[in-house]
């Protein structure tokens, strides 16, 4: 079914959604911040 194939092709072209160094940096920074908050919470628990 050509219509479905075109839609699938269009969808697959969108992957990966974001691929850039800047995104990775921001993402890892958010990751680190959350892990830091978790660490502080565990310390508070102790």
């Amino acid at each position: 079914e050509n219509s479905l194939l075109r839609q699938v092709s269009s969808l697959l072209r969108r992957l990966p959604a974001v691929e850039s160094g800047k995104f990775q940096d921001d993402f890892l920074m958010e990751y680190n911040d959350t892990l830091l908050v978790t660490y502080l919470a565990v310390l508070t628990n102790c």
Binding site: S3, L12, R13
Partner: protein, 221 residues
């Protein structure tokens, strides 16, 4: 999906027409289909038996034009201009729109220089006008024009007619995506079981400590 819904009726109409026409009369059909402002898919028309019969005949040039619009770009037309009939302005516009879709297939960030070269556009203003008026407003692409970095960031591009050789990579990508999703679901399931188990252990440990504390209090008192 919106694109496909808009084109569905048009495709049906042209396919029906193609089944009832033969030979040279298909020339006007091909011309009409390739000039239509809302049609960007030609595989269904291309697979009509009457059109396939044009192969090897004196009218095979119309079949080549349709194939060009189904899979080719503006550069392909320029390099084969001698063999193919002269395109009217509407057809040229259509082919340039399809060229943008083809370029968006390989890269998400399209530099202005590359676009200007591929589309035979003289300056940036003309290029941006083309991208905005003919591509974005037509709904075939969505994206951001970055004038500082002189590039067009494509967020969405409608799909062109797929070639048979592209199916393999599409199937592989879909399979990889499916495997990734399945693995992710399994990980989530595992984490949920782990969380439940840890919660149970925690509760048990807390109860043990509380019981011990009670015991010590009783012993002390």
């Amino acid at each position: 999906m919106d694109m496909e819904q808009k084109q569905e009726e048009l495709i049906d109409h042209f396919v029906k027409q193609a089944s009832s026409l033969t030979g040279a009369s298909l020339a006007s059909l091909v011309s009409e289909a390739t000039s239509h402002p809302s049609l960007f898919a030609f595989s269904e028309i291309l697979s009509a038996p009457s059109l396939l019969q044009l192969e090897g005949t004196e009218n095979s040039v119309y079949l080549d034009v349709l194939r060009l619009f189904a899979h080719g770009t503006w550069s392909d037309y320029k390099s084969n201009a001698g063999r193919l009939p002269q395109l009217v302005p509407d057809q040229a516009l259509k082919l340039k729109q399809l060229t943008v879709l083809t370029l968006a297939e390989t890269n998400k960030v399209l530099p202005y220089d590359q676009l200007m070269q591929q589309l035979d556009v003289a300056n940036v203003r003309e290029l941006e006008d083309f991208l905005i008026n003919e591509c974005m407003y037509a709904g075939i692409v969505r994206g951001k024009l970055d004038q500082l970095r002189k590039c067009f960031e494509v967020q969405f591009a409608a799909g062109r007619d797929p070639r048979p050789e592209q199916l393999g990579s599409m199937i592989e990508t879909l399979s990889n995506w499916l495997v990734t999703s399945d693995n992710l679901l399994i990980s989530i399931q595992e984490k949920m079981s782990w969380a439940d188990k840890m919660s149970e252990l925690n509760k048990k440990h807390k109860k043990e400590i509380e019981d011990k504390a009670e015991e010590v209090k009783k012993t002390y008192s």
